[in-house]
């Protein structure tokens, strides 16, 4: 992976973008009229979910690349993306109920969006467990790549669940048609959070890949460039 300036700039960029995004959330975006201050969970919940989707898209891409090239570096990248994707999905599944309780009066309901998100989390936890229990590196990489590709089917299902079915989860605010949209100040804060969490995703992904490369070189010196 690229090193040098990126190594120094990326952590600083994570901190700066997060501070700027939080400043916009708490000092620029207005307090929502119906839900009150708790609505500000939206600014972390949705960007985390979108970036979890992006992480699983990376798993899909690198898994496909591994199967076509058999290059272990792609397998490591797929694993790193899945690991960060599971972290982000876990945070989505915790922040969602924390937001739901004061707004809906319940922590959880088995509607299509929530259930499919839980299924998504389970698929990629299974992906990580599969990798943990298979010892042969080639067999592990191949089976994991297949799961990484098939598992991605759930991502569009999660995204479109609120458009296809009637759900307890709110209808889309972004790209949801004529009835969707938000206050321009809220939109500024929201997109700043999306950018900040995307930078965080790539920072964590990059660190995770480096760790895998280190682990690989520790167990089989000379195999990894």
């Amino acid at each position: 992976m690229a090193s040098g300036p990126v190594r120094a700039i990326l952590p600083a960029l994570v901190i700066l973008s997060m501070v700027a995004a939080l400043g916009l959330v708490f000092f620029h975006a207005p307090v929502e009229q119906e839900q009150g201050i708790v609505q500000k969970i939206f600014y972390i919940h949705v960007p985390l979910a979108w970036n979890a989707f992006l992480a699983f898209l990376l798993v899909f891409f690198y898994s496909f690349r591994y199967l076509t090239t058999r290059d272990r570096r792609y397998d490591m990248r797929a694993f790193a993306a899945a690991d960060v994707g599971v972290l982000f999905t876990t945070l989505v599944l915790i922040t969602g109920p924390i937001w739901a309780k004061p707004v809906w009066g319940i922590w959880w309901t088995w509607d299509a969006r929530l259930t499919l998100t839980l299924v998504l989390w389970l698929i990629y936890v299974a992906y990580l467990m599969l990798r943990h229990y298979i010892e042969s590196p080639e067999k592990r990489a191949t089976l994991a790549a297949v799961v990484g590709i098939i598992g991605f089917i759930d991502v569009p299902l999660v995204y479109f669940a609120i458009r296809w079915w009637r759900t307890q989860h709110p209808q889309p605010v972004i790209a949801g048609g004529d009835d969707s949209g938000m206050d321009p100040h809220m939109a500024t804060a929201f997109w700043a959070c999306v950018i900040a969490f995307t930078i965080l995703l790539f920072f964590l992904f990059r660190r995770r890949v480096q760790l895998e490369e280190l682990a690989e070189s520790a167990t089989a010196p000379g195999e990894v460039e």
Binding site: I37, L48, L91, L204, L214
Partner: protein, 31 residues
Amino acid sequence: MAFLIAAYAVVLVGVVGYLVRMARRRRELER
């Protein structure tokens, strides 16, 4: 307000915890 703080705290703890876990693993590998 408590729910808001809880949600932001969960994200902070989750991300920092993940970084700490990676740093520990790195130290183990470098040893």
